[in-house]
């Protein structure tokens, strides 16, 4: 009987606590965040938008916004106590461990063959980072410079790089930055085509490019990740850790003697980290941190970054075409694949090529540019850290 009475008192106190919440400042934001969590889950399941990250993040958003639960701890009602998500956050996101481990998995997944057989394509990967720096300049009009840099890195179109850089720069908007980065990556098939069509004529989109699939020696495949790490580490030391983990994963893949490790990195490690990363990042999706007008601005600036990345790649290809003879010209659309979002961007370019000319197969060229974009975006992250990191 006493137990039932205790239980009744506790339930009553919970209802009193909920009833005592201010509707405008506490209840409404909480409800909005629960709805946002629901929308993220819906987009992940129904629209297949980056489900591996948006689903855990959506669920985490619901968890951290439960009014009386101590999921996060530091920003919940039990001050001083650390919730499970806070523990995970400190263990893997605050020290940037999770994004780096994820890079090993990503490196193990990437086949650099198309770019190794035509290394010139890498130049488009560099050009397509323009959106990052354009957005940096625009965001600096509104945000402090380190926040502007954190927001600009959305243009890297690479989740782990965005998390790593925003974390290193102690951005208070890391939640919004990650939502923007992953959302726009999923929206690449919607964002890129209008920009590409706006900047190219049908004649340009019809340009065919010969693909000579050269055999790449095993030695080249093995030396590539080592050389890239050394070059990036010397020229841009801040990118060494990012590029190093990415290339370590790739070396495991290409060395030929660690197949089981390569498989583990591609599947088990990447999946495990993705599960933890998604739900942990939701720590920054608390209503008090997320429901600010700055979040809408960040989402807008993220779109600007993706648009200008695309434009940078396309316009650079058009610029190079001025100097190239007929028959050697690039299809300018492949420049757009320099955005790191892999493999969506290369598929978009391939599809647009076929739309303009049903015999225009650009997939291999676009894939080469796309994987170059992966490397270039990591280097861009290193550049941003060189300028604004501690």
């Amino acid at each position: 009987m006493a137990i039932l009475s205790d239980l009744g008192t506790k339930i009553l106190s919970i209802f009193e606590a909920i009833a005592g919440m201010n509707f405008l400042s506490e209840t409404l934001p909480m409800l909005v965040m629960l709805a946002i969590g629901g929308v993220l889950i819906y987009l992940a399941i129904a629209k297949d938008m980056e489900p591996t990250l948006l689903l855990p993040m959506g669920f985490g958003t619901i968890m951290v916004n439960l009014p009386l639960a101590n999921i996060v701890g530091a920003i919940s009602q039990n001050e001083g106590a650390e919730g499970a998500i806070e523990v995970l956050y400190k263990a893997g996101v605050a020290n940037e461990l999770f994004p780096l481990l994820l890079f090993i998995g990503i490196g193990a997944m990437i086949d650099f063959g198309p770019v190794l057989s035509n290394p010139k394509l890498m130049i488009f990967g560099a050009a397509a980072q323009f959106g990052i720096f354009f957005t940096l300049s625009v965001a600096s009009l509104i945000f402090p410079i380190n926040e502007a840099a954190s927001i600009a890195i959305i243009g890297a179109a690479d989740g782990p790089t965005s998390i790593f850089v925003a974390g290193e720069l102690n951005s208070q908007y890391i939640g919004a930055i990650i939502v923007a980065a992953y959302s726009y990556m999923a929206l690449v098939p919607i964002v890129q085509p209008p920009v590409i069509k706006l900047l190219t004529t049908k004649k340009e989109r019809m340009i065919r490019m010969k693909y000579e699939g050269k055999a790449i020696s095993k030695r080249t495949r093995i030396l590539f990740p080592i050389i890239v790490t050394i070059i990036a580490g010397i020229v841009s030391p801040q990118s060494a850790v990012l590029i190093g983990f990415l290339m370590f994963g790739n070396l495991i893949r290409e060395c030929g003697v660690l197949d089981s490790l390569s498989e583990t990195a591609q599947k088990v490690l990447a999946n495990l980290i993705t599960i933890l990363l998604g739900i942990t990042v939701a720590r920054n999706m608390h209503a008090s941190q997320f429901l600010k007008w700055e979040t809408a601005l960040i989402l807008g600036l993220g779109l600007v970054a993706f648009i200008f990345d695309t434009a940078g790649g396309v316009l650079f290809a058009k610029f190079l075409n001025i100097f190239l003879p007929e028959g050697k010209k690039f299809n300018p659309m492949i420049g757009a694949a320099g955005i790191s979002a892999f493999p969506m961007s290369s598929r978009v370019v391939h599809k647009l090529g076929l739309e303009a000319d049903n015999q225009n197969f650009l997939l291999m060229h676009a894939t080469g540019v796309n994987v170059s974009g992966q490397v270039a975006s990591v280097i861009a992250g290193g550049m941003i850290l060189s300028f604004f990191g501690n």
Binding site: K120, S140, I142, M383
Partner: protein, 71 residues
């Protein structure tokens, strides 16, 4: 090479950061005070990426040529 570039930018950033003008700009709101350093970083960043990628392209080309000669 890039380190020198980064140091130049860093110096500018420090100079601007220590000025009174930018103390105000640290708050969120429209301000043109940070634009100069942002533009400088943008130019340096793009140049830096092209340099790194250029060196990688050269290295891969050399690797491919060595591989082709051996065949």
């Amino acid at each position: 090479m890039f380190n020198t570039l980064a140091k130049t930018v860093e110096t500018t950033v420090t100079e601007v950061a220590t000025s009174e003008v930018v103390t105000e700009a640290a708050k969120i709101g429209f301000s043109t005070d940070n634009v100069q350093e942002a533009l400088l970083c943008s130019v340096a960043g793009m140049v830096g990426i092209f340099i790194v990628v250029g060196i990688i392209i050269l290295s891969v080309s050399v690797l491919n040529k060595i591989g082709a000669k051996k065949k």
